[in-house]
Amino acid sequence: MKRRQFLVSAALGTAALAAPTILRAASTPLKVGTYGGYFKDSFDKFIYPDFTAATGIEIESIAEPTGEAWLVQLSQAARAGQAPADVSMMAQLARIKGERSGLWAKLDEGKMEHISVLPKHFVHRYEDGSVYGTGAVSWYVTLVTNTDTYPEAPSSWKALWDEANKDKLGLMSLATNSFLLEITATTYFGGTDILKSEDGILKVMAKLAELKPNVRLWYRDEGQFQQALETGEIPMGEYYHDVTTLAASQDKPVRSTFPEEGAVLDSGSWVVSKASKAVEQAQVFIDYMAQPEIQAKMSRNVGTAPTVPRDLTDLTDEEFAAVSSDKTPILPLYDIYVDRGDWINQKWSELITG
């Protein structure tokens, strides 16, 4: 995940890393890292004050850079026995890489009664079965269109391949944040299973290459695409459901569509650095965040999809539709990017720049 304010938070993250070790007492605040910018601001405002009121644990909010930069900082700090943050929100790729290197502290399941409501894929375990993290927030990547250019909403991801849409698309520029391989596999190959072999991945990439003439912008910067989508300069593409819905509610001529094949459900997870000396408090925090009413509060205020089943929350239809959908989602195959990361990245670069 490459979301929101990378540079600002990268600078802050480095500063946090450079901070001297402080001897931790029981009263020291729990350091919780979230992506700098929008996420951190929202958590500071809507989530942490209530948590402190409910548990008496103070929170020191840390702005972390997205994805791998923070993983690198955490693992280097852990080698020196330090934890720039006790609890961190991690993108799935970084979470899995951390799992493989044993970076995350093992948590005591018995002390976290609420995590049992989370679906299995949001309770992360080491191979020996011990829990090391949970799903924190999730969000959808959907098919978005400008309503002036497209009075009718497209119904399928196949619209991306439609010759009528030549030079009209904005797609994310990395295999690991666009999840276009999963989208293509689900749309044309009956599911993501084909991506489990290199041959299969190449077949999917060949299909994906067919839409290249339609792509005007392979974007890294969200702001650039959102602006182009709102003005109709680039009237179709893939983007975040929450942000698009928010823009539509502000009378911008944009819409977000859950295609019939499903939208991509991406997520971030809570993990605890093994160098943390506040695992007890971290468990309280992670347990607190798993409660359905807190998930509902985040859907209302932060715009994320709940990680717990919908019927456990008190979200109204409208509130739920603003952040999620009942349609079966396309789940990214994070493991393939960990196992074959460099190979996929190389083929991907050749695909989109060739």
Binding site: K2, K97, S173, G232, E233, D342, Q346, T353
Partner: protein, 284 residues
């Protein structure tokens, strides 16, 4: 030699200071980059110190040769356009009154304060279909419908030239303004036409300044990684974009470092060739 040294106003050891700075701020970081480029990739972190040439081997493919070609081609084009525009501009500027010269230089310098991001976003709006300059052409009846001029190679080179142009002028301005006007007068008196005097006398006299400006803009634009993403199509992405991808998004620092070293070697080779060419002909 020894007589010279005795008469110099500044003592020789002063030279140690820039030498020290060069070591601390250039050679040491370069050494680190060199070390990183041969270290082992750690997928979960930065890198593991070691010695392997896999990252260099990975670069030696047709794909990266093409990307390198794009980088060098785009920068050469930008440098050539900047010099071709900046040279007559500077010659013209130096014939203006002192006040206008100062004003023009201040305006040019202020352009340097704009970040690449601002230049990129402004140009992408200016060249867009919905709000851009093609609407003016359409209104004037020059074209049938507004069109988008971005992203394209044209937009990218325009952006690079916008940033490179002030540098070219700043390099050219001192020698151009010092050029003795009597040289041109002499040429004209001898019967040379205006263009003949310009190309036969002014240009050769300033050859080394022109080469200098060309090299500066070339090297400067070679490192640009934002404009290719904002204004270029994916096939126009330069090596710098791929380096950023590896360093930031794939956390593959060794490969990013190896690519940077290739980029630097190619830049050095071209700069060497250019200055050699400039010197030889200048001497002749």
């Amino acid at each position: 030699m020894s007589a010279d040294t005795d008469q110099r106003a500044t003592p020789g050891w002063i030279g140690l200071w820039p030498a020290l700075m060069l070591v601390v701020f250039f050679l040491v970081p370069f050494g680190i980059m060199l070390a990183v480029s041969v270290s082992q990739r750690d997928p979960a972190g930065a890198f593991i110190p070691g010695f392997e040439l896999t990252h260099y081997a990975r670069f030696l493919t047709a794909f990266f040769a093409k990307v390198m070609g794009v980088s060098v081609g785009v920068s050469l084009a930008a440098a050539a356009i900047c010099v071709v525009l900046a040279f007559p501009f500077t010659v013209f500027l130096s014939s203006m009154s002192h006040r206008i010269q100062t004003l023009a230089l201040v305006v040019l310098l202020s352009v340097l304060s704009l970040s690449e991001v601002i230049v990129g976003f402004s140009l992408s709006t200016l060249l867009s279909k919905t709000a851009g300059i093609s609407n003016l052409f359409y209104w004037l009846g020059l074209i049938d419908a507004p069109v988008a001029y971005t992203p394209s190679l044209f937009a990218l080179i325009t952006g690079l030239c916008y940033i490179g142009f002030p540098f070219a002028v700043l390099v050219l301005y001192p020698p151009v303004s010092r050029l003795d006007p009597e040289i041109i007068e002499a040429a004209r008196v001898m019967g040379a036409s205006g263009p003949r005097a310009f190309f036969g006398v002014v240009v050769p006299n300033l050859r080394s300044a022109i080469v200098g400006a060309f090299i500066l803009v070339f090297v400067f634009t070679l490192g640009s990684y934002l404009l290719p993403q904002l204004l270029g199509r994916s096939e126009d992405w330069t090596l710098s974009v791929h380096i950023t991808d590896q360093a930031i998004y794939q956390s593959n620092l060794p490969f990013a470092a190896a690519m940077s070293i290739f980029l630097m070697l190619v830049a050095l080779a071209l700069v060497g060739l250019a200055s050699l060419a400039g010197r030889q002909r200048g001497a002749a």
